[in-house]
C-alpha cells in the first residue's frame, strides 16, 4: 500500500494506523478505495449503487477489528458515502472508522458519511470514530457524519466519537433504535476552536423492555467557536436512559445544551444531566502549585477532560 505523507499522517491521527492493519480494512482516499482486505469472517464489498460499502460480519465472529478510515487531501473535494455494517448474531468485534481532511487550498472540502449498523441478537461491538482536520488553506474542512444504529435483542454497542481538532463545520447526527435487553453506551468528545461550529444531535429510542442507553458528551468550546448539543432519549418501554452534557467554555466560546427526555411508558426511567462552565479556578490553582503555568494547567485540565 503506497501512501503519501499526508495520508499516513491522517491515518495515524484518526485510526492510529501505521502500516497495514491486522484484520479486514478498506482505506478510502480522495473518493477512491486505495486498499481493501476482507477476512474469512468479515467481507467488505462496494455497493452496487452509489458510493459506499457493505461490511458483513459473520455470526459469532470474535475479537476481530475492522478498519474503515477515510482521508481527503484534495481541496474542494465533496463526497457522500453510505456504509452499512451487518453484524451477525453473537459477534464481538471492534470497528475503527473516522475521517481526516487536510485542506491546504481555498475551496471547501467536505465528507458526508452515513454509517448504518444492523446489530444482531447478542452481538457486541465497539465503534471508534475520530474526526480530524488539518491544513492551512482558506477552504473549510466540513464533516457531517450520520450514524444510525439498529439493535436487536440483548445486543451491546459502545461508541467512542471524537472530534478534537481542525474541523470547521460539523453536524453530527446519531439515531438509535433499541430492542429488548439491548444497551447503547456513547462517549462523545468535542473540541472546537477558532470560529468553528459543531452541532451534535442524538435521538435514542428505547423500544424494548430492559433496553438501556448511557450517552455522555463532553465538549470544550474555545476562541469564538460554537457548539449545540441536542440529546434526546425516548423511553417507549420499561427501560433506563441517561444523558449527560458536560462542557467547558473558554474565551468567547458559546455552548447550547438542549436536553430532552420523552417517556411514553410508566416504567421508563430517564435521567438527564447538563453542566456548562469555565475551568474551575481552584483546578488551575492546584496545578499551578505543582509548578505549571496557567496556560500549561489549562491544557492539562482540557486534555484530561477530553480523554
Amino acid at each position: 500500500m503506497d501512501l503519501n505523507n499526508i495520508q499516513k499522517y491522517l491515518l495515524k491521527e484518526i485510526a492510529d494506523m501505521e502500516g497495514t492493519p491486522d484484520g479486514a480494512y478498506n482505506i478510502r482516499s480522495d473518493s477512491c478505495a486505495i486498499d481493501r482486505k476482507s477476512t474469512e469472517n468479515v467481507e467488505i464489498t462496494s455497493k452496487e449503487i452509489g458510493s459506499g460499502l457493505d461490511i458483513k460480519i459473520k455470526p459469532n465472529t470474535k475479537g476481530e477489528t475492522v478498519y474503515i478510515p477515510v482521508v481527503i487531501s484534495k481541496s474542494g473535494l465533496k463526497e457522500e458515502v453510505l456504509n452499512d455494517f451487518f453484524v451477525g448474531e453473537g459477534a464481538d468485534v471492534t470497528i475503527v472508522a473516522g475521517c481526516g481532511i487536510d485542506n491546504c487550498g481555498n475551496d471547501d472540502s467536505e465528507h458526508d458519511g452515513i454509517h448504518r449498523f444492523f446489530v444482531g441478537k447478542n452481538a457486541k461491538i465497539r465503534y471508534v470514530e475520530k474526526h480530524y482536520g488539518s491544513g492551512d488553506g482558506k477552504g473549510k474542512r466540513i464533516l457531517n457524519p450520520v450514524t444510525e444504529v439498529y439493535m436487536e435483542e440483548d445486543s451491546y454497542v459502545e461508541m467512542e466519537m471524537v472530534q478534537i481538532k481542525g474541523v470547521d463545520d460539523t453536524t453530527r447526527t446519531t439515531v438509535a433504535d433499541l430492542k429488548a435487553g439491548s444497551r447503547l453506551v456513547v462517549r462523545e468528545r468535542l473540541m472546537t476552536h477558532g470560529d468553528q461550529k459543531a452541532f451534535s444531535v442524538y435521538t435514542v429510542n428505547l423500544n424494548g423492555e430492559g433496553a438501556g442507553a448511557d450517552i455522555v458528551s463532553r465538549g470544550v468550546a474555545r476562541d469564538d467557536s460554537y457548539q449545540k448539543l441536542d440529546l434526546k432519549i425516548v423511553g417507549n418501554a420499561a427501560c433506563t436512559g441517561h444523558t449527560e452534557c458536560d462542557s467547558i467554555i473558554m474565551d468567547n466560546g458559546k455552548i447550547l445544551a438542549v436536553p430532552a427526555l420523552e417517556a411514553n411508558d410508566v416504567d421508563a426511567s430517564l435521567v438527564h444531566e447538563a453542566a456548562i462552565g469555565k475551568i474551575a479556578g481552584e483546578q488551575l490553582i492546584k496545578l499551578m502549585t505543582l509548578g505549571l503555568t496557567e496556560a500549561e494547567a489549562e491544557e492539562q485540565i482540557i486534555n484530561g477532560f477530553l480523554r
Binding site: R218, D246, A280, E282, Q283, I285, K286, L287, M288, T289, L290, G291, L292, T293, E294, Q300, I301, N303, G304, F305, L306, R307
Partner: protein, 246 residues
C-alpha cells in the same frame, strides 16, 4: 528559610475593611516542623495561602531563602520549592492519580515510582493509580492523594492546610505516621502544618498560635502546649479534636 515581615491582609467585608492578617512577623528556619494553630477564623489558612501565593498581601514581605517572593506568582513559588496541600482537595474530571503525581514530580515517573508516594500515605497503590481524581473517591482518599502529590514535589518548604479536615479517624492515624516519617527525614527542609489537632501539635518542633490575625504565642511545643490548656478558643479546638470532631 522563610521570613514573614510586617505582613497584613485585608478584605472588603460589606463595605468595611476587615483585617485577616495583622502586621505579622515570623521566622521559620530550615530543618523544623512548624505547626500554626489557633481558633477558627484566626487567619491560619489565609497565612498559608499568602505563603503559597494564592492570596496577595495588602502589605509586608515574604522572604524565601533570602529572596523576596512577595510579588512572585504561585507557579514561580512552586518552582522555587514551595509546595501547598489544600484543605479541600481539588477534583478533576479525566485526570488520573498517576497524572497528578507525575505533574507534581515534574517528570514522567514510572507507575512503580508513583506508587511509592501512594503507599507512603497508606493507599493500596495499584488500586488507585489509574483512577480519576474525581467525586468517586471519598474525602479521606482524596486527602491522602493530595498529600501524596505534595510529597512527590520533594519541596524545600511544604505547607499543609488543615490536613485533618474532612478525613476519618483511621485516615487521620495514618496521616500522623506520614508526618512523623517526614519529620524523621526532614534534614534541610521545612514542614509547616496548619492544624488544631493535638496529635499534630505533639510532633511539632515549634508552635505558632495565631488569633484574630495576630501572633499570640510562638515557641517550642513543650512551652506552648501547656500554655494553651484551659485558656483560649484554640484549646477548645484541641479538645474537640481529641473527641474526633475534626
Amino acid at each position: 528559610m522563610l521570613k514573614i515581615q510586617d505582613l497584613s491582609f485585608r478584605v472588603d467585608n460589606d463595605g468595611q475593611d476587615k483585617e485577616i492578617i495583622q502586621n505579622i512577623n515570623l521566622e521559620i528556619p530550615a530543618g523544623k516542623l512548624f505547626v500554626i494553630t489557633g481558633p477558627n477564623g484566626g487567619g491560619k489558612s489565609t497565612l498559608a495561602k499568602l505563603i503559597a501565593g494564592i492570596e496577595k498581601p495588602t502589605s509586608g514581605k515574604i522572604i524565601f531563602n533570602g529572596e523576596d517572593i512577595t510579588e512572585k506568582s504561585i507557579t514561580e513559588r512552586a518552582r522555587m520549592g514551595i509546595a501547598f496541600a489544600f484543605q479541600q482537595p481539588v477534583k478533576f474530571k479525566g485526570i488520573r492519580v498517576l497524572d497528578l503525581i507525575r505533574l507534581a514530580a515534574g517528570k514522567k515517573l514510572t507507575v512503580t515510582e508513583a506508587c511509592v508516594y501512594l503507599s507512603s500515605v497508606g493507599l493500596c497503590a495499584r488500586e488507585y493509580i489509574d483512577r480519576e481524581v474525581n467525586s468517586s473517591l471519598s474525602g479521606g482518599e482524596l486527602k491522602r492523594i493530595e498529600i501524596a502529590t505534595v510529597l512527590a514535589r520533594q519541596s524545600l518548604l511544604t505547607v499543609f492546610d488543615e490536613p485533618e479536615a474532612g478525613i476519618d479517624l483511621w485516615s487521620f492515624g495514618n496521616l500522623i505516621e506520614v508526618f512523623r516519617q517526614q519529620r524523621e527525614e526532614i534534614k534541610d527542609k521545612t514542614i509547616l502544618i496548619i492544624s488544631h489537632q493535638e496529635r499534630i501539635l505533639n510532633i511539632a518542633d515549634e508552635i505558632v498560635v495565631l488569633d484574630s490575625g495576630f501572633v499570640r504565642t510562638q515557641g517550642r511545643k513543650d512551652i506552648v502546649i501547656p500554655s494553651l490548656i484551659g485558656t483560649s478558643s484554640a484549646v477548645k479546638e484541641c479538645r474537640g479534636a481529641q473527641k474526633g470532631e475534626c
